[in-house]
């Protein structure tokens, strides 16, 4: 436990100091940290899921507070909470079935409470499953009898051999933890491989002789373009350099190394060039539930220019960037400010500033925000690792990854 705590503290420090660059890295590291939290968590015989949830939530709260702007951290915390719930549901469901088959008489008071819990969980599971499962005529018709039948077996008490039961339960507890860790591993796998899944779709979206514009550098965009290039599509790319970090230069270098026709333009030339561009492809920092995008600074300008010239604006992002929150005033609340030294050298203007007379408030401010918010109406398409989605579908996509109980991590943890 203490070593988990030190791990958590380390990570929190890193997040606070903004040492972790990029949402993919932070997502992956968050998942790994939470995996070790889960694996080291001692589980009681009862209420295992709740204990796990609480543990993860407690850590998650610290992580989110460390860097509220890095939404990927919160996303992963919620994803893992969701995983725990899911695994718990499936295990209780299977246990339920086992119960209903084997034991009809379970009159042991000790287990009364746990049974009760399992019962309610089973009901929730059934309800949840019926909503999660793809709607078909079968489920539509049989959904009600199924859930009605669920309480049936548990209501009947029954005789039991306590020892066999406890053995079964300990195996179940191990199984839950094991399943959760397995699922987290899968999640980490997904985060790692999301680029490949996204870039697989590149050929279907980029045609011959296309002219593509992007701003700054996103690894997803790079892989996307390279994948299209590998499939023998020839197209040219305009890269706006993306002040103040000028990662466009890096991207240009990488793409040229792959043999792509690349032109670097200044950010100011975006409007001039956009009329000759067929498609804008950019990466994102986070995708909000309403389809809005938080992306590196400058992209809103590109999106507006693209809209003006009716150029499709495509956002490529892994599903770990899907955030279940609805943004409110995101330009301010979900923004980060970088060092002014990106714009002005230290002391550059000290010679012309009059420090003596100004009453505390400096005459010169330097604003260097890190992110832009792009409203969903400016986005034509999202390409995630699960395929292409329109902005209006994002809210539904989120339901696949997160459970509604976890949207607000903090409040839950403080009340419970």
């Amino acid at each position: 436990m203490p070593d988990v705590q030190t791990l958590v503290n380390d990570f929190v420090l890193k997040l606070k100091r903004r040492k972790i660059e990029g949402s993919q890295a932070s997502a992956k590291q968050t998942a790994e940290l939470l995996r070790s939290v889960v694996s080291q968590q001692r589980l009681p015989y009862i209420n295992q899921a709740t204990v796990l949830l609480d543990a993860v939530r407690a850590v998650g709260e610290q992580l989110i507070a460390a860097n509220p702007v890095e939404l990927a951290v919160g996303n992963i915390v919620r994803r893992i909470l969701h995983i725990i719930r899911e695994e718990d549901l499936t295990s209780t469901a299977s246990a339920m079935e086992g119960l209903s088959l084997s034991a009809n008489s379970d009159d042991d008071d000790n287990y009364e409470r746990e049974d009760h819990q399992a019962l309610s969980a089973a009901a929730v599971a059934a309800a949840a499953r019926s909503t999660l499962r793809a709607p078909s005529l079968q489920t539509l018709l049989e959904g009600i009898p199924e859930s009605a039948s669920a309480p049936h077996p548990s209501s009947s008490g029954g005789d039991s051999e306590g020892k066999s039961k406890s053995a079964e339960r300990s195996s179940r507890s191990k199984k839950l933890k094991h399943d959760v860790i397995e699922a987290i591993n899968e999640l980490i796998q997904d985060i790692e491989t999301c680029h490949e899944q996204i870039s697989e779709q590149a050929v279907g979206l980029i045609h011959q002789n296309e002219v593509i514009l992007t701003l700054g550098r996103s690894r997803t965009v790079k892989e996307f373009l390279c994948a299209a290039n590998e499939k023998k599509r020839s197209f040219r790319v305009f890269i706006a350099e993306g002040a103040p970090r000028y990662l466009g230069h890096v991207l240009a270098k990488e793409l040229v190394a792959k043999g792509l026709q690349t032109t670097v333009i200044t950010d100011s030339a975006v409007f001039a060039m956009i009329s000759r561009v067929n498609m804008v492809i950019v990466g994102a920092h986070a995708i909000m539930a309403n389809g809005g995008v938080i992306a590196p600074v400058g992209i809103n300008m590109v999106a507006l220019a693209a809209q003006r010239h009716a150029v499709p604006f495509v956002v490529v992002a892994g599903s770990h960037k899907l955030c279940p929150l609805y943004p409110h005033n995101p330009e301010v609340l979900l923004n980060d400010f970088k060092s002014p030294s990106d714009l002005l050298d230290f002391g550059e203007f000290s010679d012309c500033m009059d420090f003596s007379t100004s009453g505390g408030s400096p005459r010169l401010h330097v604003v260097n925000p890190a992110f832009d918010f792009i409203p969903s109406k400016l986005v034509s398409l999202f390409i995630t690792d699960t395929g292409g989605h329109s902005p209006s579908y994002i809210y539904r996509l989120i339901a696949d990854y997160y459970s509604a109980d976890d949207f607000v991590v903090r409040r839950r943890s403080t009340t419970s």
Partner: protein
């Protein structure tokens, strides 16, 4: 088919298009206005804009080669003389009428329209550096031949010319410059002669025309008639040259074939062929011979993707051209940036460019190195340099200041263009100056004329720039209220004056200075503002969506305002205006009216200026960022450094000029109400 190949030299738009290549705007109206039937177009004298399709010129050529010019032309001379005093258009009719009785149909039509065009341009020719550049670049070879012809044909005439031209000039105001031109032509002839004889087509034509010249020179011909004949000769030569170039055979059939071939090409590249097809007519628009026989090349009038023309231009350039590395395909039509080698070249050539006045040379180098930048500053510097040049000017014997000085100015201008493409405002200023020179009274002494010119230049700088700025400041300051947050972009002098004025008036406001790479002009402005004690916020262009929330007004400068309301300004202005528009923040463009131009522009690609691509690869203060070092080694990698962009008019709330505050839709109204003359001259 024919109508697509119009020579487009004819019309006055050229006058306005100083400093810009004009080929971007297709002339659909014009091409429509040309009837396919040559006879019909010849008869329509008022159709100034339609000059003969090139095939007609070839026809002309054919008839020329086979038919000697009939003596009856002399008869027409008197008639022409009397009518030469009429307006240009009537003259064209007249020429046509005179000739038609002789059933000289092949020639008839070109003459008619050439005259019309000539007359139209008489007014404009001296003012229009772009047109002069046209013929210098594109047609110098034919020019050589034609010049040669004139020598053989009208040597006597040339001597007599200045006298008669002076007289005619007073009579026909619009045609004033035409005689000047031809006189200049004759002056330049002799040196060009050697070139001519190489071309067999050219020479044979020459022989043919010698006959004409001989016949003609006996007569005391009028100006109009001489011009008519020259036009014919030139047309013939243009055709012959094409024929000679293409097939190396004698004219007729090969000329026609070439024309067809050229037409086919023109279908593919309409913008270029405008130059190609305008051979015959544009060449003559106005001609400013260099003393050295060197033709300076206007970069802005050229389409740089046309290899053959660029080659030709290169051969004649006073200033060297250098191959640009990794040019961006979309912008091949623009002059590529070639600063480094250009500067060295100019330095090494210093003593060879002795026809360039030192002050002009200095200003040119300042443009080249970028130490003088900004529309007003460049314009002012240029005018002051011209002022010095005028001061040191003395008319050579046997020349009138109007002609010689104009040619001098033209050569200076092409030098400046070689250093850096002209801005639209500079084009307007040059037009003003040339107009002034052309309107010089011939009876006044040289010193008087010079002092007139000097005071005119002073007046232009004072009225159009300094006082205009004051009026704009006066207007714009009323739009600043207490508590405003003003966003500015780039470094516009007039906007800076507005802010300082408002500050002096004691208004309480905050300024957001938005800046962008690579020029980072905002820093210089920020420094000035902070020093004056204004409270500023500094940010980069990408953050504009963030900062726009708190902004209440946007003040922008402009390099030029075009008649469709498009703002042609520092690159990035369009982005700022777009974001402001999205956030419903009013955008005020502050621009002196002398920067207005009657051109139209839809995008930032047709006309623009390319800067040094190297500055993009290096980021100031980021030594670690060296990903684009040696970028030119990768053939797939290009860096694009645009200077300007075109802001659509719907992003602009208001344009502040010295004539008042107007919506962008009213830009053409300014032209209409004040007229070009009042606006610029």
């Amino acid at each position: 088919m024919d109508s697509r190949r119009l020579p487009r030299a004819v019309i006055d738009p050229k006058v306005r298009q100083v400093g810009f290549f004009t080929s971007c705007d297709p002339p659909p109206a014009r091409s429509l206005s040309v009837p396919a039937d040559t006879g019909a177009s010849a008869i329509v004298p008022t159709d100034m804009s339609s000059s003969p399709p090139l095939t007609d010129i070839y026809i002309t050529n054919n008839s020329f080669s086979s038919v000697r010019i009939p003596p009856p032309r002399q008869v027409s001379a008197e008639g022409l003389h009397s009518l030469g005093r009429a307006a240009g258009s009537t003259t064209s009719v007249f020429a046509h009428d005179v000739l038609s009785p002789h059933c000289w149909e092949g020639i008839q039509m070109p003459i008619g329209s050439y005259n019309s065009s000539e007359f139209m341009q008489g007014k404009s020719s001296m003012l229009s550096p772009s047109s002069s550049r046209f013929d210098d670049i594109d047609f110098s070879e034919e020019e050589a031949t034609s010049a040669c012809l004139i020598r053989t044909g009208s040597g006597k005439e040339a001597a007599a010319f200045p006298r008669s031209s002076g007289e005619v000039m007073m009579a026909i105001k619009s045609g004033a410059n035409a005689p000047a031109k031809s006189a200049l032509k004759t002056a330049s002839v002799v040196k060009a002669l050697p070139e001519v004889t190489e071309k067999d087509g050219g020479t044979s034509i020459e022989k043919q025309n010698e006959g004409i010249g001989a016949a003609r020179s006996k007569q005391k011909t009028t100006k109009a008639e001489r011009r008519a004949i020259q036009e014919v000769q030139r047309a013939a030569k243009a055709a012959a040259k094409d024929a000679g170039k293409g097939a190396k055979s004698t004219f007729a059939s090969s000329g026609g074939a070439l024309a067809v071939a050229k037409q086919a090409k023109s279908a593919i590249l309409p913008s270029q062929t405008k130059y190609g097809s305008s051979v015959a007519s544009e060449r003559r628009v106005d001609r400013n011979p260099d003393k050295d026989g060197k033709k300076d090349v206007s970069q802005s009038s050229m389409q740089f993707d046309d290899k053959s023309r660029v080659e030709k231009a290169k051969r004649r350039a006073a200033v060297g051209h250098f191959e640009a590395r990794n040019s961006v395909e979309l912008f091949r039509h623009l002059p590529q940036y070639e600063h480094g080698p250009q500067l060295q070249y100019l330095e090494s050539k210093f003593f060879h460019l002795d026809h360039i006045h030192p002050s002009v040379y200095k200003v040119g180098l300042q443009y080249l190195t970028g130490s003088t930048s900004g529309g007003n500053a460049r314009c002012k510097e240029m005018l002051l340099a011209f002022q010095e040049a005028v001061m040191d000017y003395s008319t050579p014997p046997e020349k009138t200041p109007a002609r010689d000085l104009t040619s001098k100015i033209s050569s200076y201008v092409s030098f400046l263009i070689a250093c850096r493409p002209l801005s639209i405002s500079m084009g307007n200023a040059i037009r003003f100056l040339k107009n002034r020179i052309a309107k010089l009274d011939h009876n006044i002494s040289e010193s008087e004329a010079k002092s007139n010119l000097l005071s005119d230049i002073d007046r232009f700088i004072n009225e159009k720039i300094i006082v205009a700025d004051k009026v704009i400041v006066h207007h714009a300051v009323t739009k600043i209220r207490d508590g405003d947050v003003l966003l500015i972009y780039g470094h516009s002098t007039v906007v800076e004056m507005i802010l300082l004025q408002a500050h002096e008036l004691g208004k309480q406001f905050r300024i957001v200075v938005v800046d962008s790479r690579p020029k980072l002009e905002g820093k210089a402005l920020l420094r000035k503002l902070v020093m004056k004690g204004l409270s500023c916020t500094y940010t980069h262009l990408n953050a504009i969506s963030y900062i726009m929330h708190e902004v209440t007004r946007v003040f922008l400068g402009a390099s030029s305002i075009l008649s469709n309301g498009t703002i042609y300004s520092r690159v990035g202005t369009a982005c700022v205006a777009m974001v402001s528009h999205t956030f419903r923040v009013p955008v005020l463009i502050c621009c002196e009216a002398y920067k207005f131009n009657e051109r139209v522009l839809l995008d930032s690609i047709c006309s623009n200026e390319l800067g040094d691509p190297d500055v993009i690869s290096k980021v100031h203060g980021r030594d670690g960022l060296n990903d684009l070092e040696n970028w030119s080694d990768h053939e797939n990698l290009q860096l694009l450094n645009l200077f300007y962009d075109a802001t659509p008019s719907d992003y602009v709330s208001m344009i502040v000029t010295e004539h008042g505050m107007i919506p962008p839709t009213s830009v053409p109204v300014i032209f209409r109400e004040y007229g070009r003359d009042q606006l610029f001259f």
